[in-house]
């Protein structure tokens, strides 16, 4: 089993994005699977999915690692070490940190046995709240030996949140940032020390998004519309951009993989626009809107429906941008060779509220394209259909009884183009303890949203 440790002499991951592209094909894939909001009173779990087409159990869940308590709402995850420590032979990509957004617990999963991971430690949400006045853990990135996690609220679930700093033994060090002045809310972040840069985005306070999405909350300014560019070494915000109506709810932030580049993209989820950022020759951050998905008037709906771009990622060669429109129901591929002028090169439909593809590969799709994960070589895009339990229950209420699904989309990396693979579907509606929701995915050897080269 390839563990992503390219050479025996080295630490985790790969020497460069180019080396990562040539790694062995992924054979296993992890996804979080949730029982929150389904009526099954069981802990959430990590599902190991067989993605090796030569295996007899291809396209099925082959192991389940249960968390220790119910109600975490597992969401995103991150490794204790990635390619940024490739030169350090004392480090290994062994522990996957899986925060519970609702419980604020951080589940540390030991993947030494890649097929059957185990719970190594739980950092208690109560301890985190008591020591740092933070709750709602979200994005995990390793930082050399240490780990930082974006936190969406204070201990009472109010904004703006901050960043939690853990040491390599997963002990709470405290808050990472020196000052969070300028932040209204928090969500995802991406960093690149080579450019002394970190970029963070804004969802909303836990007290606002937990009960579900409400347009009155948007009107009351309770959802984010700013992104923040940090002085990474100084741990303070150096510049914030208020994006206004074009930039409502900026979520996933993705920098290009090439560490010499200071470009990146993020999507404003509610406004359903994609923005491009870069640092110009004078070191000033520039921002431009490069993709705008129009709202659609749905028969019987008094309010025009946005596409809701919920996840976005960049291929390891920095050539293609992919994103999911969770309400409209499509997945798109854009060629971003010309950084300011992305060209759409592929599109597939899976579920969604427009009814364009209600059934795919013989299964009724619950939800629509949501979290995506791309293989290192860029040819296989895995996609799951659940967003967040209370939002799922709002927009796709049948999912709680029928479970979410995982599909595979084959991507043409030469000429562009996407097709749904007819031989792959994992229906989490058929899980042994009852239907569950699958969400973010990770490969044991690292993937296009986990690793940063410094």
């Amino acid at each position: 089993m390839a563990d992503g440790n390219g050479k025996a002499c080295c630490g985790p991951g790969y020497a460069s994005p180019a080396e990562a592209i040539t790694a062995d094909r992924e054979k296993l894939l992890y996804t979080v699977a949730l029982y929150v909001g389904t009526g099954v009173e069981k802990p959430d779990y990590l599902a190991t999915v067989d993605v090796d087409p030569d295996s007899p159990t291809y396209s099925s869940v082959i192991a389940r690692t249960e968390m220790q308590q119910i109600g975490d709402e597992l969401h995103h995850s991150g490794w204790n070490a990635c390619s940024s420590c490739h030169d350090d032979a004392s480090k290994s990509r062994r522990f996957l940190l899986m925060p519970g957004v609702r419980s604020s617990n951080i589940n540390v999963i030991d993947t030494s046995d890649a097929t059957n991971p185990s719970v190594h430690k739980v950092v208690s949400g109560d301890d985190i709240k008591a020591k740092t006045n933070l709750s709602g853990p979200h994005t995990v990135h390793c930082l050399g030996a240490d780990i930082i996690i974006s936190m969406l609220g204070d201990a009472d679930g109010n904004g703006p949140g901050g960043f939690l700093h853990l040491n390599e033994n997963f002990e709470i060090v405290g808050r990472w940032e020196n000052d969070n002045a300028g932040m209204n809310y928090n969500y995802d972040f991406w960093y690149q020390p080579r450019h002394n840069m970190m970029v963070s985005s804004e969802w909303a306070a836990p007290n606002t998004f937990m009960p579900g999405f409400d347009l009155d909350d948007v009107a009351a300014g309770k959802y984010g519309q700013s992104v923040h560019f940090w002085d990474f070494n100084g741990k303070t915000i150096s510049k914030s951009f208020d994006l206004g109506a074009e930039g409502m709810i900026p979520l996933e932030v993705r920098g290009l993989h090439d560490p010499t580049s200071n470009h990146g993209y993020f999507a404003a989820t509610l406004s359903s626009n994609v923005f491009h950022w870069w640092k110009d020759d004078n070191g000033e951050i520039q921002l431009e809107k490069v993709i705008d998905i129009p709202t659609i008037d749905v028969e019987g709906f008094p309010v025009p429906m946005p596409s809701l771009i919920t996840d976005i990622l960049i291929s390891m060669d920095d050539k293609y941008l992919y994103f999911a429109n969770w309400l409209h129901g499509d997945l798109r591929q854009y060629d971003i060779t010309d950084r300011s002028n992305p060209k759409m090169t592929g599109q597939v439909w899976l579920g969604g509220m427009l009814g364009k593809a209600p059934e795919v590969n013989g299964i009724k799709v619950q939800g629509a394209p949501q979290m995506i994960q791309l293989s290192l070589d860029g040819k296989r895009l895995y996609v799951t259909t659940s967003l967040f339990s209370s939002w799922d229950n709002q927009f796709y209420p049948d999912m709680k009884d029928k479970g979410a699904q995982m599909y595979l989309v084959d991507c043409d990396v030469e000429n562009g183009g996407m097709t749904i693979n007819p031989d792959f579907v994992v229906d989490f509606g058929k899980e042994p303890n009852g239907p569950s929701r699958c969400h973010e995915m990770r490969y044991p050897g690292g993937d296009v949203t986990s690793d940063i080269w410094i």
């Binding site: 009526g39 609702r102 836990p206 309010v303 709002q394």
Partner: protein, 110 residues
């Protein structure tokens, strides 16, 4: 000091089981102590996982819970922070969530 008052809380959709709940206890804690398993996550009123419907009676809850105004008006309470002030009848679990969520694009804006 006198012991806090006790009220009867009936869980309508769990066979009508009825428990004595003191005003200093939460409905969730007493249900769990009696083996009624309810959805739960944060246990401090911040996440809505434990929401259920108050069919009759009155409860005391802290201000600033995760329920929005529409959800409160539809009769939802959060079992993890709800203390009875009178005898109450409640419906619990995901089966009670029929009116908890709505698609905001499908309903007229006020």
């Amino acid at each position: 000091m006198a012991d806090p008052a006790t009220h009867k809380v009936t869980v309508a959709n769990r066979g009508g089981r009825t428990f004595d709940v003191r005003e200093d206890q939460t409905i969730l804690d007493v249900c769990e102590a009696n083996g009624v398993i309810l959805p739960v996550a944060c246990r401090y009123g911040g996440c809505i996982t434990c929401a259920g419907r108050l069919v009759s009676g009155k409860v005391r809850q802290p201000k600033g819970t995760a329920l929005n105004k529409r959800q409160s008006q539809a009769g939802y309470i959060l079992m993890c922070v709800a203390h009875p002030k009178q005898d109450c009848v409640v419906e619990v679990g995901v089966e009670s969530h029929g009116d908890l969520y709505q698609n905001p694009f499908s309903v007229p804006r006020k």
